[in-house]
């Protein structure tokens, strides 16, 4: 490698094919300065001093406030709808129901088009039908929020109820249906797993259950909506600006360019901040009223009108040889869905990639209920699937009399287990070893119930964490290079609070050879280039690849500008790279010219380069997943069954870590959510009515500080040669494995195996 005077090498164009043999130059630590730094969040100060506006904080002259009235039956028809009192109530400007709502097209369901962003496919307020208990049936607009809220309670509704499926047991008894996983197969098989299971020396075969979960983002869903003629402007809180804009355009039958969504700041999303009814209703009502509208859902509205993670019932059966080699992995079962979502909770994802086995039978089916459309929530499939799989492995280890880490290491695959794709970078074994050492796993007493401190039983548990590497097609970036050496980079991406803008500023600084203060990263706006959803933990890679493509384009344009006198004269784009605020020859960095000089001499104020990321061929060519080894210690009261997590360690293997500070927060946040999954969270649907029972944060128990111990984190930091910057996703993986690690620790503490989440005190009496 050839380096500059101060020892760094130019950053040349990124590979044209991410599946190919040449990695991103930014995977090489000698080419990076800012990647790997714990840079504080750029917007942190502005956020904690209240200088940032969220979706419900924008105000316009004449703006009206919206309140929803929602159905109280799960299925049927509205036979009477008396809105007279509501219309007469003080301050009310409009009551919109299916009778007077503008005609609209159904929501384009997510996945039905690359840009479709609806998580429900029902037409909104277009007829008298009720599809779930809690469905919005009217919107009230008034001069103040209080007036709107009050008027909404004055609406009187009569229903003709129809028989509805509102209990899980009934839905399962009606028969479950095969389904897909984001359009891919919902069933994967290798060999005859049932036969291999029967023939195995040792086996486990158990059923695990997980309940509905709510995202419980700190910022409830909200939008401020404004029409200008037939142009729609929305301040939203969404993790998919471009998808939402396209979908709203379809719903209202207007060209895509006429919808503009701005969502630079979110108070959390976790999969729940997509396109739901509230934005559509606000836009429709605003159009009818001819005034701007703010809709800010109450917490109860969020619970009743925004989808949650679906309930699951999973069978995991593992057969092994006496020395612990897996002969069969069976992971099947069903998750709940509505007809209008038809979305599975893909709990087989961990079983597809974590272990080698001679045979596999994996399949997820759906059971239909008349319920609110379910949706993705942090680590769809992985969060609840890893609970079942990793508990089953622990159970098998007990039967084999083997250390559960040793059992896992013995089944480490050398390729993608089912389809044989070659591994990209997989260092889970290293993560296990480093984690076990740091956590003090050797101090664990394998005999359940053997360690006690007064009434408290103490146990340790572990589990593997995993999340697929994702990079959806369509991400694009625009780089504007200014004569003074500053660069603006624009991507229709999102920062839900996880630090996207900060991490990308570091990446862009390194890619362009600039200082972070010279870089402005713009995001969270549908007018910006490309299609990037903040989902699948993909943004670091997706934005990284888009910026890399634009960088390649930028280098080509710059070379076109350099004249004969330039030290860069005669070089081709793939012979140069960015270094020290300019362009340098890859094999001789002393041939260097600054961006400012190049633009100056060419008489240009700025240069704009825009490109779409290369298609994600690495996804199909390689086995790429983030992994982690999760360790925890719990104390369980032998009197009350209360569980306290007292220590937690995540030993992560997610490729290169771009920013240790924001990454640690992502891991930690995921692990905290995993503690909730393990111990406290359950969204209860009344099985007679399908109505959410605990529609408040007093009753839906997310962990509080007292439930969360200090969380220790380490990571391998080994770059993935096929990922931009060598970085795989980190946002969701923390919640995976955590539930099982806790459940396994509870078993080690008490000898009690709880296969039905959450592990509340009553289950341990």
């Amino acid at each position: 490698m050839t380096t500059s005077a101060h020892g760094r090498a130019p950053v040349g164009p990124a590979p044209e094919n991410w599946a190919g043999p040449v990695p991103d130059p930014l995977t090489d630590p000698a080419r990076t300065r800012r990647i790997g730094e714990p840079m504080p969040r750029l917007e942190g100060l502005a956020k904690v001093t209240g200088r940032i506006k969220f979706a419900a904080e924008h105000a316009y002259p004449g703006m009206l406030y919206a309140a929803l009235a929602c159905s109280t039956i799960p299925k049927g028809r509205i036979t009477a709808l008396d809105v007279a009192d509501a219309e007469r109530a003080p301050g009310v400007v409009l009551v919109m129901t299916h009778r007077n709502a503008p005609r609209m097209n159904p929501m384009p369901g997510f996945g039905s088009d690359p840009k479709a962003g609806g998580f429900d496919t029902l037409p909104v307020l277009q007829d008298d039908r009720v599809h779930w208990n809690g469905q919005p049936i009217a919107v009230v607009l008034a001069e103040t929020q209080e007036q709107a809220d009050h008027a909404a309670t004055l609406i009187r509704v009569g229903y003709a109820p129809e028989p509805a499926v509102t209990s899980w047991e009934e839905a399962v008894a009606n028969g479950t249906a095969p389904t897909t996983i984001y359009g891919g197969p919902g069933r994967r098989e290798l060999g005859d797993a049932e036969a291999a299971l029967r023939a195995a020396d040792v086996s486990v075969d158990e059923v695990y259950r997980t309940p509905y979960h709510n995202h419980a983002a700190i910022e409830p869903h909200a939008a401020t909506v404004l029409w200008d003629g037939d142009e729609l402007f929305v301040h939203d809180t969404t993790q998919m600006v471009a998808h939402s804009a396209w979908s709203l355009a379809k719903i209202f039958g207007i060209p895509e360019e006429r919808v503009h969504i701005s969502a630079p700041y979110l108070g959390g999303g976790f999969g729940g901040k997509g396109l739901w009814w509230y934005q559509v209703l606000a836009a429709a009502a605003s159009r009818l009223a001819g005034r701007p509208v703010r809709i800010a859902l109450t917490r109860e509205n969020v619970f009743r009108t925004v989808g949650s993670r679906a309930r699951t019932e999973q069978r995991v059966a593992i057969g092994a040889t006496a020395d612990g080699r897996f002969e069969a992995i069976i992971h099947t079962g069903a998750s709940a869905t509505s007809r209008s979502a038809d979305l599975s909770e893909p709990f087989i994802l961990p079983a597809q990639c974590t272990y080698a086995a001679r045979t596999f039978k994996l399949g997820v089916e759906v059971a239909y209920l008349d319920m609110m459309a379910n949706t993705s929530m942090r680590a769809p499939g992985g969060a609840v699937g890893s609970f079942a799989l990793e508990c089953a492995i622990d159970e098998l280890a007990v039967k084999l009399g083997m250390d559960p880490i040793e059992l896992r290491l013995r089944n480490e695959p050398r390729q993608e287990p089912i389809d044989g794709r070659p591994l990209s970078a997989r260092n889970l074994v290293r993560a296990w070893r480093a984690g076990a050492e740091r956590f003090g796993w050797d101090r664990r007493n394998p005999t359940p119930g053997a360690v006690r401190d007064g009434e408290w039983l103490i146990g340790m548990g572990c589990a593997a964490a995993t999340h697929p590497y994702v990079r959806s097609p369509g991400a694009a970036a625009r780089i504007t290079l200014h004569r003074d050496g500053r660069a603006e980079v624009e991507v229709a991406a999102h920062d839900m609070g996880m630090g996207t803008a900060t991490a990308q500023t570091q990446v862009i600084a390194d890619r362009l050879g600039l200082e972070p203060h010279q870089v402005t990263f713009r995001f969270g706006d549908s007018r910006l280039p490309g299609l990037v959803m903040a989902g699948g933990s993909q943004q670091t890679a997706a934005i990284g690849a888009a910026v890399a493509a634009a960088h390649r384009e930028l280098l080509a344009q710059l070379l076109k500008l350099v004249g004969d006198g330039s030290p860069l004269g005669g070089l081709e784009p793939d012979q140069v790279g960015s270094l020290d605020g300019g362009v340098a020859a890859l094999d001789d960095p002393s041939r260097h010219e600054s961006y400012a000089d190049i633009l100056d001499r060419a008489g240009r104020d700025r240069l704009v380069a825009e490109a779409v990321a290369q298609p994600p061929e690495e996804l199909t060519a390689r086995s790429m997943h983030s992994f982690g080894a999760m360790f925890c210690e719990v104390r369980v009261s032998s009197v009350t069954g209360e569980v306290r997590v007292t220590r937690f360690l995540g030993s992560m293997d997610c490729g290169r870590i771009v920013n240790p500070r924001t990454a640690a927060s992502q891991f930690r946040g995921g692990i905290i959510m995993g503690i909730g999954l393990a111990l406290t969270e359950e969204l209860v649907l009344d099985d007679r009515t399908g109505r959410v029972v605990n529609a408040s944060l007093a009753d839906y128990h997310i962990p509080v500080h007292l439930d969360v111990p200090e969380i220790d984190l380490i990571w391998t930091d080994i770059p993935d040669p096929h990922a931009p910057m060598g970085a795989r996703g980190i946002g969701e993986i923390g919640i995976t494995g955590t539930g099982a690690a806790i459940a396994n620790a509870v078993y080690n503490a008490t000898g009690r195996r709880v296969r039905d989440l959450p592990i509340t005190p009553d289950k341990l009496l």
């Binding site: 003080p90 208990n133 809220d149 009050h150 111990l679 109505r691 605990n694 007292l706």
Partner: protein
């Protein structure tokens, strides 16, 4: 929320006068009342703010305490005399809500807080006899994990959610009241009513009657006291079961005992049957457990809450064993 009027009471007499207006409600910290208004469970026409009334905590010559009804929960829990003489009360208060809620909540408001039964809160979508007499009860055959095992009726099986009240019940607290017909006192254990056929009538208070203070007599000399709460998460959750107890053991024999349970009944549950079994008996786990069982013999489990019977038995036994260890 409905439109409403607001008035701030200058003193108790003023409060009672303002409170006699139709559909008036006293406003303490508002942490419960305002929530209920926002959810449309209650719709008072006027709020009479009583946070300006006495919040003094006075030490009585007999060693007891008189606590003004407007005293904030945090102030009570932090008070030196409360911590020294009534540890069960300090612990019970600190086991409730969050710091922010305790900072706002008043003693009277805490006593009169309404049930957390989710169907009670769901005005539009659920039936509830307590909220709408005669409507039916969606909890009895519904999701009733948090509901009562003692003292419920076919009309209502809600629990009283207060932690503080459980300690007050065990401490033999007396509530000072003032109404249109003058002042009176009532033992805390007689303030709340069991639902019977009329769950909508929750207390013995007359319309417009005001709580002015809570009085605590001294605990039996030499007695230890404590509070333990079992909940679904480590903080900020209502009790599945809670136990407040006062216990004195002399030469291995129980010579004074007061026991109250929370999370299991529509009112703070003074466990007098268990107390009878305990008094004069040897202070050992077998006694404690047997006493808990006699109290819980009357328990009627619902579909989702049978675990509370065993949980209550275990928690009572553990709390008494702890106190016996302390008292010995």
């Amino acid at each position: 929320m409905n439109p409403f009027g607001y008035a701030r009471a200058a003193d108790a007499a003023d409060a009672v006068r303002l409170g006699s207006a139709p559909r008036a409600a006293y406003l303490g910290g508002g942490t419960n009342l305002v929530d209920l208004m926002r959810r449309n469970v209650v719709a008072p026409a006027t709020l009479v703010d009583v946070t300006g009334l006495s919040s003094a905590i006075e030490e009585r010559p007999d060693g007891g305490l008189l606590i003004g009804a407007a005293a904030r929960n945090t102030a009570v829990a932090e008070h030196r005399a409360v911590r020294a003489r009534y540890p069960l009360l300090a612990r019970a208060i600190l086991a409730g809500g969050s710091a922010q809620i305790r900072n706002m909540a008043t003693v009277a408001g805490n006593i009169l807080q309404r049930t957390r039964c989710p169907y009670f809160y769901d005005v539009a979508g659920s039936r509830c006899n307590r909220r709408h007499p005669g409507q039916g009860c969606d909890a009895i055959d519904g999701h009733n994990r948090d509901h009562a095992i003692l003292g419920g009726s076919p009309a209502c099986v809600a629990t009283h959610p207060s932690d503080m009240c459980v300690a007050l019940a065990a401490a033999d607290a007396v509530v000072h009241l003032r109404g249109a017909r003058g002042a009176r006192v009532l033992p805390l254990t007689e303030l709340h009513r069991l639902p019977g056929d009329h769950p909508e009538i929750e207390t013995e208070l007359e319309a417009g009657e005001l709580i002015t203070a809570v009085e605590l007599p001294p605990l039996p000399p030499g007695a230890a006291s404590g509070y333990r709460k079992v909940r679904d998460r480590a903080g900020y959750a209502f009790a599945l079961v809670s136990v407040a107890a006062v216990l004195r053991v002399e030469r291995g024999v129980i010579t004074a005992v007061r026991l109250a349970l929370g999370g299991v009944a529509p009112k703070p549950w003074r466990a007098r049957t268990a107390e009878q079994a305990l008094l004069g008996a040897p202070a050992d786990p077998a006694t404690f457990r047997a006493a808990a069982r006699t109290e819980l013999a009357a328990a009627v489990p619902l579909r989702h809450n049978a675990f509370k019977i065993e949980l209550a038995e275990r928690t009572v036994t553990a709390v008494l064993a702890d106190l016996a260890g302390e008292a010995r």
